[in-house]
Amino acid sequence: MPKTGSIVVLAAGLMASILLPTSPLYGQPAGVDLSVKAGVGIEYLNRTLSWDENTFTSGLKGLLFALQAEVEVRKGLSVGIQAGYALSDFGGLIFRELPFSVEYQAGNMGGLYLGGSFKARASISETFDIELTAALDAYFGSRGEWDLEGLAVEGALEGRPFWTRIAVGPVLWYKGLSYYVYPYVQVLYTPLWGSFRMTETVEALEGTEKKAVAGSGRVTISLGVLSEISDAIGIRAEVYAGPRKGGLDIGGSGRLIFSF
């Protein structure tokens, strides 16, 4: 599971790949047509998690709200960042290394949401564009506190969750429709890792368990559409399905985009 340091290294690599001289994908002069986009996005996250060496599974559901900015640094090459607030629910996660085992069923926990992305897009025909996308996002959950109920003495729990996700893969855009509507399909390699650190205190008993979790499936297939309402405003909506052992995780996102 990548630690925070790994995330920084990955982000630095992402930035370096943008800022260092590179060959444009399709022969346009570099750095001549800088454009900026800003957006407001929401995503419904739905992933199945596995833990304890894939022995157990539970769900990760979340709502991610983010302000987004994207700069086209060269023709076809753009870099984006996003920051916002996320709710994540690790319902069903069981901590068995605490003195008293506990199962998390306390619902959503809020936290900071940060991300960055890199895109390279090229036209492959009059009706199709291909785009390579690489993104990294992370959720840093705020500290939660709960009572440990039902015991002969009072007990308390304190927990803090975290997850990070990488998404790398191609996007195929279709430009053949009129009215500025652009559907697309993308296949992403989207590993997800996370952890949930829980501390339990019951009078003289105390224990801490850091539970490592990982996304059960690693590939998602998305269908989406970008609609340019005007030169300055666009709406993008997407639904994804991630096959995993024994089922399918379905999520989606929406974004309102302003171009400058």
Binding site: T55, F56, T57, S58, G59, G91, G92, I94, F95, R96, E97, P99, F100, S101, V102, E103, Y104, Q105, A106, G107, E145, W146, D147, L148, E149, G150, L151, A152, V153, G155, L157, V202, E203, A204, L205, A241, G246, G247, L248, I250
Partner: protein, 448 residues
């Protein structure tokens, strides 16, 4: 320390005066395999956590105003097909097509005006009930309010038990976790024990390595803690899969010198025991006995001892408060028998009245059953030893102090109305295996 055990033999009550450990006169009765009934075990898969329902299947009930002839149309519109119709309650079992997710589909259906309700097809689990024919008489493990023994015997109060069946869903124990039974020995060939013994043990009375029981008390205790369970025979032990190490420190009269007991404790600690059961005691303090108990504790061993059956102060070694759990007795109504010793050293309580367990083969004569009833904090301590072994099985990294606190804090404070909190009679209360072992659900804080 003369004690007596009451037992049944061939339908006739045989009350035998025996010198033993901490056993009191008790209810006599003969367990009946017919009354016990074979109970089929059913285990919840360990990987099933959270809500469990049939994948791709939902239950739907339509509003009364929806004509029956339009139901197929509605079902098709949900991209589902009808699997069954529970006509008496007008509910349809639908299978979703195209990999649709149950939770999302249920949420969508519940927003549909034609649907009265939709819900997942949840999967229920039977509690883990072993098939041992006398399990039905072991109210201590699961008390449904059944008769304690023969027809006409007292009935218990439902839930006045240690919640073994719920706890066994979480763990049945590890065979590598050994409970040393320091007692009069164990019947090494008892059919309900023979496959649970880690070895033939150690006999410090006769100084050999054959800890056979020439009394009966040790066999009784070993069965309670860890009789072979779900074997279609006899009784169930608390520590379903854990092993027994017989250590004979009491002689044929049920008596043993402190030096012998101390030898047994240190030997058990050095020979793989993670739990030591001490269903024995005496009124006098001893530095030697205390040092032996502390030695085992420092070696990572959890020690459980009966508080005593004289209705007076807690006896030793149970009274070594820092190193040993002192166990008082309760009955089938979750009340304390007057003979259960008391004092500030009492940590917890467990059933110790009319307890059914194993007896040495032939104890009641040829052809008799090898099971009988007895009372005492000896039996109570054996239940706690079984729980300690299950906790160690599930969490081998815990220290003895942590295991002891888990057992204390997970108790049900059954005398809270008269003595709220920890008290001198029942300590923190009657042990609750479910609370000690099964994950506690963390819920949203009220008002959050």
């Amino acid at each position: 320390m003369k004690r007596s055990i009451a037992m049944a033999c061939g339908g006739a009550v045989a009350v035998l005066a025996l010198a033993a450990g901490l056993v009191q006169p008790g209810t006599a009765g003969r367990p009946s395999s017919a009354a016990g009934g074979p109970l089929q075990g059913w285990t919840r898969p360990a990987s099933d956590v959270g809500l469990r329902y049939v994948p791709g299947r939902v239950l739907v009930k339509f509003q009364d105003r929806i004509p029956a002839w339009t139901v197929d149309y509605w079902i098709a519109s949900y991209r589902a097909r009808k699997v069954a119709h529970l006509s008496a309650i007008r509910t349809y079992v639908l299978e979703l097509e195209g990999g649709a997710l149950v939770e999302e589909t249920v949420a969508a259906l519940n927003l549909s005006p034609e649907v009265e309700f939709a819900e997942p097809d949840y999967i229920a689990s039977a509690l883990v009930t072993p098939n041992d024919p006398f399990f039905g008489f072991q109210y201590a493990l699961y008390n449904s309010g059944q008769p304690i023994s023969i027809p006409g015997s007292p009935t218990g109060s439902p839930s006045a038990d240690i919640k073994a069946t719920a706890a066994w869903e979480e763990t049945k124990g590890d065979p590598d976790v050994i409970i040393a039974v320091l007692d009069t020995g164990v019947d090494l060939l008892h059919p309900d024990l023979i496959r649970k013994l880690s070895s033939s043990g150690r006999d410090f009375v006769n100084d050999d390595f054959d800890a056979s029981d020439d009394h009966g008390h040790g066999t009784f205790i070993a069965g309670l803690a860890a009789a072979e369970t779900d074997n279609g025979q006899g009784i169930a032990g608390v520590a379903w899969n854990c092993s027994i190490l017989p250590v004979k420190v009491l002689d044929a009269n049920g008596e043993g010198a402190y030096s012998t007991i101390a030898q047994g404790i240190t030997w058990a600690a050095l020979n793989g025991a993670r739990v030591i059961n001490l269903s024995l005691g005496y009124t006098e303090n001893s530095q030697t006995l205390r040092d032996a108990v502390k030695y085992a504790y420092d070696q990572g061993v959890v020690l459980c001892a009966g508080a005593g059956n004289t209705g007076s102060a807690v006896e030793y070694p149970a009274a070594y408060d820092d190193y040993c759990l002192a166990v008082a007795a309760t009955d089938y109504n979750d009340t304390r028998p007057a003979w259960s010793n008391y004092g500030p050293e009492v940590d917890v309580a467990a059933p110790g009245v009319s307890i059914l367990s194993t007896y040495p083969r032939g104890y009641f004569g040829p052809g008799s059953m090898d099971y009988g009833y007895a009372d005492g904090t000896s039996a109570a301590a054996a239940h706690v030893s079984g729980l300690a072994a299950l906790i160690v099985s599930l969490k081998p990294f815990l220290t003895p102090a942590q295991v002891m606190n888990i057992i204390r804090y997970s108790c049900d404070d059954i005398n809270a109305q008269t003595y709220p909190g920890s008290d001198a009679f029942l300590g923190y209360g009657r042990i609750n295996m479910e609370k000690a072992l099964v994950p506690v659900i963390i819920k949203k804080k009220s008002g959050a």
